[in-house]
Symmetry: D2
Subunit: 155 residues, 4 copies
């Protein structure tokens, strides 16, 4: 009934190195303290330890900060399936905030659900982890774009 999660063959065997190098250039990730945990073809995981200086007025992580890590997870899930001459740009995303983003660590997973030459569609989820407890705090549905012929955009 539910579409079976897909397995993708990467076009570029060095997809992981390419994703890791691009992530290292995302200075926002470094600033907020996010780390790239896992890179598979079409699926990427990013973690963000909770930090008080990233909260909104109620002491939860700001929705925009949570969006930041799951957008990167989806974007890099898309990039992992592109050839090595493409850069990735976020076209749009939709985020539902399911529960307050509080806990020890936020774990964002982005997955490609549809590939295309130009557009890739992804879903993303963020789990808040506190000890053995995982709470689903955010769901994303996103469109990513493969940009070619733009040497100024390096990924």
């Amino acid at each position: 009934m539910t579409p079976t999660p897909k397995r993708f063959d990467p076009r570029d065997p060095s997809y992981e190195a390419r994703v890791r190098a691009s992530f290292a250039r995302q200075r926002a990730m470094h600033t907020i303290g996010a780390r790239l945990v896992r890179v598979e073809p079409g699926e990427v995981e990013i973690e963000l330890p909770f930090r008080d200086d990233l909260t909104q007025q109620h002491g939860f992580l700001h929705a925009g900060i949570v969006t930041t890590i799951v957008d990167s997870a989806c974007g890099y899930a898309a990039l992992s399936l592109m050839d090595n001459e493409s850069a990735v740009l976020s076209v749009e995303y939709k985020v539902n905030l399911l529960a307050p983003a509080t806990g020890d660590v936020m774990r964002a997973v982005g997955r490609v659900i549809k590939t295309g030459r130009t557009l890739l569609v992804c879903t993303g989820d963020v789990m808040a982890i506190t000890g053995p407890t995982e709470t689903h705090v955010t769901a994303m549905q996103a469109t990513m774009m493969a940009v070619r012929g733009r040497p100024d955009l390096v990924d």
Copy 2:
């Protein structure tokens, strides 16, 4: 043809002080360097000067960071119309990324387009400003919720 922008009467005459106090508690805003520029009933403006440490891999502001300020602008536009016993939570938002977020300053404006007892719908826009030039970089459509009877959530 287009719905005329609405004028709203605030339920709470001290709406501006309430929004400003809540914004001051959003530590994420302080961390990224955003400032609350303008508070009107149903419309709020937040500015973010460009900072290299908030960029993605191509040197533009990370989409999630831009989302952070326009989510706060929409949320506070909603809060400005609530009574003084309500807190605001983001239910969901959708963001289209129209152009690279680069320039001197990002200016986010959130506006309420529909009020309700529990849910308020907002649109948000982010303009990138460089000297006299303004570029429309992001459009948001968002749902905000008025939460009552939760003294642990202070706004």
Copy 3:
């Protein structure tokens, strides 16, 4: 990593009868020829046989028609978990169109991913079925609302 699909206990043991009765009152479903295939707690399936008079300019089913069935599937997935004094309203949804909606039958499945007293969040998928082939044509992420104390809204 991915949130495990949830099993929900219905609050109202007669959830299926209630959903089926409400579906029967959706005259739009009858007009387009959709049928309610399956009702489980938090998951509902609707099928729509292809019809030429529901197409867009390229001969595919119109995206809005596909949205119609997956919106109903998500709404009834939510209603199946509500008490018998609540009506369901769609608050908002986001739809990605992954592939042309063409085939013998469109099968829409809506699933609740988060319950709450007032708001429920759902995901929906539409598969185009032609013989043994299933193609994922549409993905939805939606917010549904439980409306109480409105005897004029009967579900």
Copy 4:
């Protein structure tokens, strides 16, 4: 503050005839009784008289039917700005349902807010009209795609 509505120069002087011919091929529009009211560069208006056989369980127009007309309005707003060798496809949309869709006529207006070679971003609104009263019932934010080199897709 708010981005000024844009004026666009059409690439193809026969944009209106092209949009009208494509609309005439959307059999779903004919089936539900929608009519194309106005075509300008980057802005298109479609009306749908209320019909009982298009309602959901509470007697309002089904959200998916309302989505159908505003999706077409946005899609044709995009097509009006394309060259005469492009077809338009809906990539994704997000819809907020602001008020029950009831009244004499639903008027959907789609407007392009950002053009690009491949992707165009639109906003759409639906007003329910009953005598002199207009109620804003739906807001859409959508991405449309220009498809070239596909003679099987005629617009």
